[in-house]
Subunit: 321 residues, 5 copies
């Protein structure tokens, strides 16, 4: 589905044009066409491939989807794939945006995501002196928008981790902690697979042989790479904390089990003593002198009570109760 298709020159918007008019503007030297598609059909992609002379392999990736984030050079043009990670209630929704960038065109194809890029277009049209750098700046603007949308996701994951961390040492919370940690690890891995490869790819744009499209906007691309480093650092920190939290959770469960065992052993000991005594005086030997003794029963009770009291005191001191 076509979102819009407009032309730009000297850092300013010229006009909105129909798909058919693209070829007239694409050939103008100092002008580029910016087309935005959503969930493009193969037919739409084929039409774009013809208009902009896109490489078949890049078009194939765009149509297959589920690509690994990357920025590839196809001769004079660039083909970038970025994951769109959006908070969707408790879940993370992962979409994809493919961006084909040439001297005279920018084609962005957005799949499986709700947030559009209109904001990006407005931002570019608000900065003519930067838009003057051409389609390369539009690639930066798209990249910057995608990366900036990772921050609220990482913040949400960090606060969820903090909520779990507050529960780590709470008794009886072990099972829910483990489930939440496992769930959190799944989401962090999703974000990791959006950020890490893109960090590498974008990093290559700002070091070594710079592609001509990005030559004039190096400082801006480097800023995005720095933001990717920041998010990647936070992602690594969360993963590291999660794995420690899982280890600590296991230790706490084992400690709790130990405490339960000690109290079981203590009380079992006390009752067993009482039952043993009762059992002994419940034997039917005819000659059991104390049984006839007037104060036999209270004495027995005293013996039982004092043994239990003594055992209770000993277990209390040993920390078993």
């Amino acid at each position: 589905m076509l979102i819009n298709c407009s032309t730009y020159q000297e850092g300013a918007k010229l006009n909105d044009i129909p798909i058919s008019a693209i070829s007239d503007f694409v050939s103008r030297p100092d002008c580029f066409v910016w087309v935005a598609l959503r969930d493009a059909s193969d037919a739409e992609l084929a039409e774009m491939q013809a208009e902009f002379g896109l490489h078949e392999l890049a078009v194939e990736d765009a149509s297959h989807g589920h690509q690994r984030p990357k920025i590839e050079e196809y001769g004079e043009s660039l083909f970038a794939v970025m994951h769109l990670v959006e908070l969707d209630g408790e879940e993370l929704n992962v979409g994809e945006v493919n961006v084909f960038v040439g001297k005279n065109y920018v084609l962005s194809v957005r799949n499986r995501s709700r947030h559009g890029f209109l904001g990006v277009r407005e931002r570019c049209e608000r900065e003519p002196e930067l838009l003057r750098h051409g389609s390369g700046f539009v690639l930066y603007a798209l990249l910057d928008a995608v990366v900036d949308r990772y921050f609220p996701v990482i913040d949400a994951l960090e606060s969820e981790l903090e909520r779990v961390e507050e529960q780590i040492f709470a008794k009886g919370a072990a099972r829910s902690n483990i489930e939440r940690l496992y769930e959190l690890k799944r989401k962090v891995t999703t974000l990791k697979h959006a950020v890490a490869p893109l960090m590498e790819a974008a990093g290559k744009l700002t070091s070594g042989r710079i592609h001509h499209l990005c030559a004039e906007t190096q400082t801006y691309f480097r800023d995005v790479v720095d933001h990717l480093y920041r998010i990647n650092g936070s992602v690594d920190a969360i993963r590291d904390t999660i794995s420690t939290a899982i280890q600590v959770n296991l230790s706490l469960v084992t400690i709790e089990e130990n405490e339960v065992n000690k109290r079981l052993a203590a009380w079992a000991g006390i009752f067993a003593a009482a039952t043993a005594f009762a059992g002994i005086w419940g034997m039917n030997f005819t000659h059991m002198p104390e049984l006839q003794w007037e104060y036999g029963y209270p004495a027995a009770l005293a013996v039982i009570a004092s043994t239990c009291g003594f055992l209770y005191y000993r277990f209390k001191r040993a920390g078993w109760l």
Copy 2:
């Protein structure tokens, strides 16, 4: 066993020829012979070695089999080893294909695998403008076919992992989870040892000193490398999730054990109290006033019942029941 042996020129198929005729075509400048063998005997390999002047070490590797995936340069020619990983019901069947590539020949030797490469030959013959790049393109086509067959395997492993993940928090599923996770880890390791070395080897074809055979098809080789990166990323993700799942499984078993212990301790406490009381009133002291008391027995039962009730309530509140 010979699968077929045909000659190609200017991106088009010339004809099928017998092994004996190979020498006539191999010497023609703009023509190459494509021979496909299956589970080749040493004699067949020796014959090919003579026809194409293959290096003894490469032939030795092909005859030994069980090689590590690699792409090696033998002067002007290339020798590639790739693992064929096929889903065989619950198991993974690992075969091997050795590809000897020279200016005027491509020899592919397929061992221990059921899927042939006829599809690859058809694809090449369907793209004359690419086949024009010669034997290098055939190497790409074989590599692309082998790598594309990894995707259904990784998808199968990912869905098996998802099925296990759904069971992770199910009670009493610990033992079957562990067995399935261990089984899954074994298969993922097999795939890892097919993908990772090939990713490195193919990566070297697209960076640094490019071998002349692959010079004209760099973009295509780079596309295969990107697919290998994608699979390798998914493999790493599965391995990471499996190791977390094993840790979480251990925690859950320990948590369950803790819950069992608590209930054992609680009920043991309740019964022990009842038995202790019963034991005391089962003692044979002659002077046990309450024993003669008309309501002694119901009172005793009341005492026992209330103690057990009180203990039950306390254990319920402490989360032990």
Copy 3:
């Protein structure tokens, strides 16, 4: 809030000047202005951006805060971000200092931290022959001051780790050890995220293409990098020890549980034997010869006592008691 704003020439302080006078001095060839701000408002930053021609992206980072430590080149000038880590009782307080450095100016903006940098200014003014190297030396002095303040933090973390290590093998300390280890891991991670990225960034200043501002003070920058390596080494050592300590803690809890189980099993065995015997002689069979035997009761007690004694001896020898 403005802390101070003074000018320097030929390694000596000229005078304190109001913000408005900055432009007169900034243009003088052999002179630089050093402005220090605290928790700068966006307006103050905008004013500074105008005076010193700061890049919008650097100013954006400074105003957002929560940046990853870094040292970035903006053409002729440098923009550095450093975390200020201060001991705040039991907690770590993390502030931030942004330093904009150009040929003729140094602007330091300190956020969320209590310790000022006046000491740094005094140190510079005390070393005219070094201050002669200009704003580059001031950057070194700020960097050196920030890094030196990491040492007391790492020392505090190391002594806290030593205190926990003394408790690792103490009985019943498992729960408090785990909590303290987890707390320590959180703080060490905070310090790691202040040190590691800065180590990389500062390292780049002393190798490969040296920025002209730091050319004359390489030995001094390298000294700071060495200190960062030292702290990073200690941080890695603490993290490694913590993870081993958590593993050892789990083992000790499991060993303790084992010891408790053995004692529970031993005593349960002893009491159960006594109760079983008592139970048998408590049976109401009319023909139980030993019950009528004059020494029946003492014999029974003897049998019970000797069985318990024997069991006690056996458990003692097996290490269960």
Copy 4:
């Protein structure tokens, strides 16, 4: 002890010579002497050092023994140390071979190993067209022989691992599994310390600045490096599987413990119920109506049996029995 000492020229063996005659042949331009020693004494090494002008540090390493595998350049000559790993029943016997290689000599000193290198000498003498490359080819032949002897060791370790893997899920096999895994890990580490450093050292021979002695046999050295990579890959795979197996073993033991606890809890519950009832009807209250009731006893038995039956059914359904 001297094994043999012969001279070679133009790829063919000239003759066997006594040590004293070495100096005559060593100076001939197109000829090299190949001396093989076993468990050489310091005197023998000193003699060789004089004959071939060996560097004191290399001789010191050879005499000390227990070196790390390496290939070092001493000006025009090479000094290689390789571990000889041989299966010795259940154990691994680790010997060492030091090879001094110069333009006109090869000295191999074999310590603490039973397999000689006569086979290598025969292989060289059988390939005159390769032996023509001189002492460099002999170094390759020795390296290739040493590395090929690692394959049976890695195969043995892999089949031992497979045998343990078959037992992993067998009940009651935990203790023997752990002992066998630990034993296996020790052996794999021994092999790792023979292979990994040699892989690095040999790798350097085939990349970057090639030493003149190995210039003409690069393809052969690269083949050995590939074999080392293969073994190293298998070693890493075994280590990874062992660490997973240890984790899984711990989980299985904990699962088994859980199953035992559940059955203990279930049966304890059933018996405790029976004993409690019996205890209550064993009390000596005079007014216990049911005791006089003609069917009191069978009713009691019925109550006890049905309670136990009910509990058994409930535990069966909860999976505790």
Copy 5:
């Protein structure tokens, strides 16, 4: 404290001189002064700084102490820091030696260690043809001596590890094993922090841009680097084995716990059966036919004995006893 101060020329010792005479000899072209200090005071360091023109930062490191091992270039001179690790009964004593090396001087400052370096001076004076290489060779000799003293420490740690490994599978040794492993890990980490950074630093002396002081003694420096690699390899091996041993220890404790639980469950079952039977025949129902039966009691005993026997046999077969 001054240990000694002598001058050397053309590989031979000239004479011992007082500190005051240093300046006369330091300026002579082909001569160098070798000063050795122990636990130098700041005054002594300042005096040396004046005599040899030492950099303030190097002097600052030497006076602070507790540096990370390193070898730094200060223009024409080198400043090296090395940890002295000595076995001190059960503990490791870590001292430090700072070595300032210039064209005409070597200053070694030894802190907190008992072993002096006189042996090193003798070794140098015994090898005039090597000492002829000047102060660079003295740096090598000091480095070689420090590194050689690591070998007895690593041997001691390896034999302690072997002693613990023999106990790993011994019953009841879990707690002492864990304590010894933890203690061993602490010592190995100390050695790691002496060796790893020095290995890196010394490695840089033998690759890339060689410092002029070390140019003529490359082979000797490379020998020390190889020794450092060897120790570092052994250190890594010990750390890896320790972490596996800790894992195996935890498994063994859990296995032992399982065995105890099984025996507890088995005996509890047997006694509980006996007690239940006794309890039933201890009930006071008037109509309990078997109680009046002449052989009631022996029959009861028979029933109890056979049930216990049967349970014992079943538990024996199930491996619980």
